[in-house]
Amino acid sequence: MDVILLQLLNGLDKGGAYALIALGLTLIFGTLGVVNFAHGALFMLGAFCAVSFHEILNIEMVAIDPEKTTAWGTPLEIRTPYVETYLGDFGHWMLNYSVPVSILLAIPVMLLVGFVMERGLIKHFYNRPHADQILVTFGLAIVLQEIIKTVFGANPIPQTAPQTVRGAADIGAALGFDPGVIVYPYWRMVYLGFAAAVIGAVFAFLKFTTFGMVVRAGMADRDTVGLLGINIERRFTIVFAIAAVVAGLAGVMYTPILPPDYHMGMDFLVLSFVVVVVGGMGSLPGAVAAGFLLGILQSFASMNEVKAILPGIDQIIIYLVAVVILLVRPRGLLGRKGVMES
């Protein structure tokens, strides 16, 4: 029982990341009808927003203390980040909380990136075949990835979670199991809560605002909404930007869990596509459900007990599930009829 609970928890945070990326992919697909292979790159860009924010904060002032010397006999250098010098405690707090605070940077940046991408490139691909859309966004993903590689280098850049949430919680003890059995890092809990909040916000936005209503109408029947005199294209541009922000935020918050490097986007993209297809193309609840489901399945499959029976199952479980679901339930878990079938 405790092992199962532990794996459930382990699967949830990864599932959260899958769900967030898949949600954005589905939003874009459902509204614009575009298969966006650059969505993983957006996730990566978000992660690098956190990295650059951290690096900007860490621009240091170097002072040489003439009184003291280091063990090697050179004068001791005292390095203090400028934010700390100018802002004092608040600066220190900012440094500590650089990952969550960088959300404030990531939101405008990702909005801009999404907007430029949609207006500059995707717009011209509405009426082209899906293969062309896949290919051009794939090319874009390579370009974005290589730009990040030139700027930040090829090595992963670890980011730290804020001090207060750096440890791990002994959830097991709180639930009445033996202490030390179910230990779950606080940051993953934060990530899970964050993912749930973002997903909830997106759904609420689509469900309860007039804008969201128009977007949903546009997803159902784009032409009719256009005939009613609504500029659906502009709304869809905003939806694209929102999807970019969702992917970016997923990336920002994921940095303490996985040190970001330039190809992290591609790694997540493949899995997210599988998630989208399993959930059903164009179904938002499907994407979220499938994201968490596959995350949990993956962590269950990596249990030693399971691996002993089916060696290697942890490596292939997601794809295996995808194959089975596509063959048994061709439209995915919650897919609508007639999406992407021609």
């Binding site: 298969v35 490139l121 011209h124 082209r128 899906h130 293969a131 062309d132 896949i134 290919l135 051009v136 794939f138 090319g139 874009l140 993903a141 390579i142 370009v143 990835q145 290589e146 730009i147 590689k149 030139t150 591609m266 493949v270 596509f273 599988v274 297809v277 193309m281 060696p311 290697g312 490596q315 292939i316 794809y319 295996l320 995808a322 194959v323 596509l326 063959l327 061709p330 992407m340 079938e341 021609s342």
Partner: protein, 379 residues
Amino acid sequence: MVLKNSSPTSDLIFFAVFAVAVLTMPVWLEPIGAGYPDLLQKFAIYGLFATGFNLLFGLTGYLSFGHAAFLGVGSYTAVWTFKLLGMNPIPAVIMAIITSGIFALLIGYVSLRRSGIYFSILTLAFAQMSYNLAYSVLTPITNGETGLRVLRSDPRLFDGAGEAQGPLLANLFGFEMTGYAGFYFCAVVLLIGFFIAQRIFRSPFGIMLRAVKTNQNRMTYTGLNPRPYTLAAFVISGMYAGLAGALLCITDPLAGAERMQWTASGEVVLMTILGGAGTLLGPILGAALIKYFENIFSAFNEQTLHEIFGFLPDFLEYPVVSVSSLFVGEGWHLTLGVLFMIIVIFLPGGLMEGVSRITRLFRRKPQKSEPSRATAPAE
């Protein structure tokens, strides 16, 4: 587009010209710095891979994102054949074709139940499964991360195992498959593959495959079941990929799992699109271009750039070099991505569309003055 201007004679002439062009590649590619055997082998091998991929994607329109799996299976089979039977490339090639064909039959049978993006995801899923398994559980067969290679202690039934001397290279009746001998072997295999592809393009079977791409519903209504045709195309194209994988091991007897990764599948898609899907020559051109960029551009560094742009005045030279250095060396992928986007945006038919646009441009003017000019380009 493909069906017009094709007569048996023009096909033969086209094939002959192509054969001469391929076999003389070492000569006419010398001036652009591609006239060395390692790169030429890659041109031939990836050209073959892309030709096979094109038989599926170009004709039927099914976009497989998992073709690298067959390349990997072909490679592993070839190395195992070396290990068990000896270093002669011919059994390796045959075994690789058979194994990858069986593999493609299994995957294709399942994947072809769905179409569109679902098909792409299914093939991708199978390829990723093979890749992950090759890396982890199948290590006894694939030797995991290290890669599978031929060892001196292997049984090698036909050519005397345990011989202490001599390098462990593929050996066709005394010719070691490295350098130009390796290239010519690959080139001959490419020509055979190209000839078969050309026959398929012209055959009733090829027309059926195009019918699948154009309108599957209508095909079903006329009483034809498209599934056997697409499955056959899938298997044939998987065999081409396996053959290419075997050739990779014949020129360099080492098989690694990274050959099956989805980026490798993406690469062959890029090659085919870049050259022009659905044309005979396009995929080979695309493959050669990408491999050329990979080898030549990635070898550039700032020094060579300074030499190239040395004619510019100094105040121009520095910015030009620093900008272009982003696109060469380590950053050649950036060039690839940009080039690729430009092609998809402006020339969706790939390079071959560009070529046919240009020829049309040139042909339109003289047609008014001399209407008798009837030499049609073969493609």
